[in-house]
């Protein structure tokens, strides 16, 4: 592995940065990126540190153990360790709208992202031709009020079989059950086509039009069991005017959705996100 990244959060106390960076420096690691943040109100400490492994004294396979013993357990840290040579495996859930899917696959295919997408799941067959075009397995699992439980079991089996690290809901028009969501904490990313918390739920562009807003937005967030209320990862907006019909909002919103979802996926796979208390810390 070329570099290692630690994501840490714990109760704030004096000397944390010093102790963590000393652990790396003492073992001959060269820090190439360090960012920390303290939530002064809640007294929580957050840190992302990335260092080169070339001359690091601890073998990659032993870093986790040693860090746990020396620092993580004594200081009651929540932490993750990632290596830059891992390629994350992503599943995409879609319904009928192709724009986010196309954008994701183009980024992966062109080498812009170092992400594997072995699996696409949909409740409709419509986008199968796109999956075929990119050579990706596409499963149609229609959801009805009666079969939701079995279909979700099937989805979870697919995620396990394909060894999936995280799921992206690319305008997937079904609500996942809390059971499903609980199995993938901070590992399901959704794109919602409004500037949350304005216009949660269905048909936000219609609501935005009816309210006469002058700006529309899109929001990517981790999925939690409360609908459209999970930790926000990225948001962006575009100005609109009275000239814009609902169809124009939909059209302009599509580009926002693509961008805002792509930023979330980028930051997630670059290990730049820490989630805490339904908020995100994004070290970008």
């Amino acid at each position: 592995p070329h570099s290692a990244t630690l994501l840490i959060h714990c109760q704030d106390r004096q000397g944390l940065v010093s102790r963590i960076t000393d652990f790396i420096a003492r073992n001959n690691g060269n820090i190439i990126y360090l960012d920390q943040h303290v939530d002064a109100q809640k007294q929580v400490f957050f840190m992302r540190v990335e260092w080169e492994l070339e001359s690091f004294a601890i073998p990659a396979a032993d870093i986790a153990d040693q860090f746990r013993q020396e620092l993580a357990e004594p200081l009651a840290m929540h932490w993750q360790l990632h290596f830059s040579d891992e390629t994350p495996r992503m599943a995409v859930f879609v319904s009928k709208l192709p724009h986010c899917l196309f954008d994701i696959l183009a980024r992966c295919q062109s080498g812009e992202w170092n992400i594997d997408v072995p699996l696409i799941v949909s409740n409709h067959p419509d986008l199968k031709p796109i999956a075929d075009r990119f050579g990706i397995d596409y499963y149609v699992l229609p959801i009805t009020p009666n079969n939701k439980q079995e279909q979700e079991a099937e989805q979870r089996a697919l995620l396990a079989r394909y060894n999936i690290d995280f799921v992206v809901l690319a305008r997937y028009m079904q609500i996942l059950s809390p059971e499903f969501i609980d199995h993938y904490p901070e590992r399901i990313i959704n794109i919602h086509h409004s500037f949350l918390p304005a216009f949660p739920g269905a048909k936000p562009y219609h609501s935005a039009y009816a309210r006469g807003v002058k700006i529309i937005g899109a929001t990517s967030h981790y999925v939690t069991s409360e609908l459209d209320a999970g930790p926000i990862i990225a948001q962006d907006v575009v100005h609109v005017s009275h000239r814009d019909s609902v169809e124009d909002l939909v059209r302009k919103g599509r580009d926002l959705e693509k961008l805002v979802l792509a930023r979330a996926i980028w930051n997630h796979t670059q290990r730049k996100i820490l989630s805490y208390d339904n908020r995100t810390v994004i070290f970008d």
Copy 2:
């Protein structure tokens, strides 16, 4: 008068633009600005047309009558006629926060805006020194649950005495009664310190922080009897991050509030706003 501006809305039908521009052309008026809009869904026609009066065949004082007879009444138009040599008279209502007031007065004083501000009304004495500095009358009318009706009567008497055309609520922290509002339809402009409809009501920056949004906004709108629900005139936003405390949001929001309120005042006094069905058409 140098130029005249007509703001028109009515049910859409064929030939409206042709008939209105013909009225102006036939009387030797030179159109310097024309914008029209059709709400295709509701079949409503909107138009703003401005023309030079120099060689116009109809004297300024007679234009309203003649337009009413020839077009407005036969076609059941809602319309306003304004002349460019009128200077609008604005009252500013404030509480304790000075930033919007300062910004407004600086724009008027420096000649950026051609608006008279003869009157400032507040429920607190705090900003009187600013009014004094700019030589503007400042009335302190504290509001309690018991005296609201009398104080509003006093406010309305002041608006009448000072011959006020429209009122700006520059972070005025009191809710006006429906009776007050009804007297000034589309003549009271408020600045709300959030991206409506997200976070209406009190303490939106605290709510935005708690929700963990990545963008905050400000909204200027005409005041209607439903709180923070009137026709939106302008909105703008700024990106924020996990590093921003509530105090940072307040600080960044101040600049937004100033800008977004100023845009509303500008468009209002430039007669660029038509309001319909709780939405605005802004010909800018």
Copy 3:
């Protein structure tokens, strides 16, 4: 044809809007969109008007002739007439970078745009697999200092053979000759990866990094014989910081390029652009 659109510019004079809208109204056309603009400095009048053809008295095939006789020739107008049932035919020129090409093809393929793309031309073979994936003819015409004239002749033959209406340079890294450009006035759209007029020419992201700008941009424009100096159609920007390396600028810029080029193509094919005096009027 469902609707017709006229794009007009000519010297400004009184009564133009009235005469044009009267032409449409008299023949029983229902105007669904009208926008006009006067360049007060140069006294030039611009107009875009779109009307429904359903009950229009003049057959579609005769509109051009009749408009020419009645209005265009007497008033010395420059004008174009378009019908909404025409599908424009676009050729894409590329080199090695896939992101704009992917974005364009995804929009066409998904039905977001009603544009035919029968032809892709490149000076490199690299992107042929994408063309194959979308079933589009791809021609490799490498350019050297010695063969440029012949290769451009070949390109022009292809454009003729494929009946191409307009050309998009989607990060095509060759400079077209003035002769080539002159054959397609306002029919070649380029995306330049900077906020023009800052950083024209090669390697703008490197220049932006070296200058330490806090914002980077992208610019789409019609190609003229002066490099990167043609009429600007759309621009957009994104904030950057000291944390962004040149590679980050390239990555963030890619998304801008896609968006800004897509907006130009949309406005061009929606017939919303008038070009005059090296500037554009965009009726959006």
Copy 4:
């Protein structure tokens, strides 16, 4: 003093963060903010660290000496030490345009900024009434080709007499001599009314109009002897259209100038800026 802030840059090497934070932690300082950055290309290390002084073992007056001995000299650091209880003293240079001056004074007066403005210098008497209104000394020093040297000597004498820490050029329309500039390195902030490096020099709004750009901008930067080429601190932009005349660009640009200059002053006085190699590192 409530807190101390160190701004450091030096050649990058292993263990820097560890050694600096250890210095603070060992002396019982609680770090409330730490940000660091490495310019990987040039191998330069940048850091801003702020810590509470309440229980800090080293008296405020001795911190500089001790830091110099222990770390700064051994590691060849460039560094500044600031205390949060210092109030910076700012001089404002103006010509005839009031909007930036008004905005600055309103922010200081309302307590938004903790900055003293004891001195305004101008080459014109026009804005003296504003200075009077805020009770600030205003000196008129007209500049001609013949008297520039003496007038600059007089300006420098004023800066010394008023004990000024840094100078803001708030649309000051004179070019300062290199001698003047050399006396205040990274202590003179200018606002330029374009998106640099586009449109340096005079009349950028006219140039922007002539070029037909779709976005205009403003840039704040430290003044260096090369005109409009110093390290950029902040930039922002606003979209414009064919409808905007030069006067509209000037009007819209005014708001940008105010905001972008204010952000630079805020970051400068919050000690968030490090300048290196004609670029800025902004820890915001």
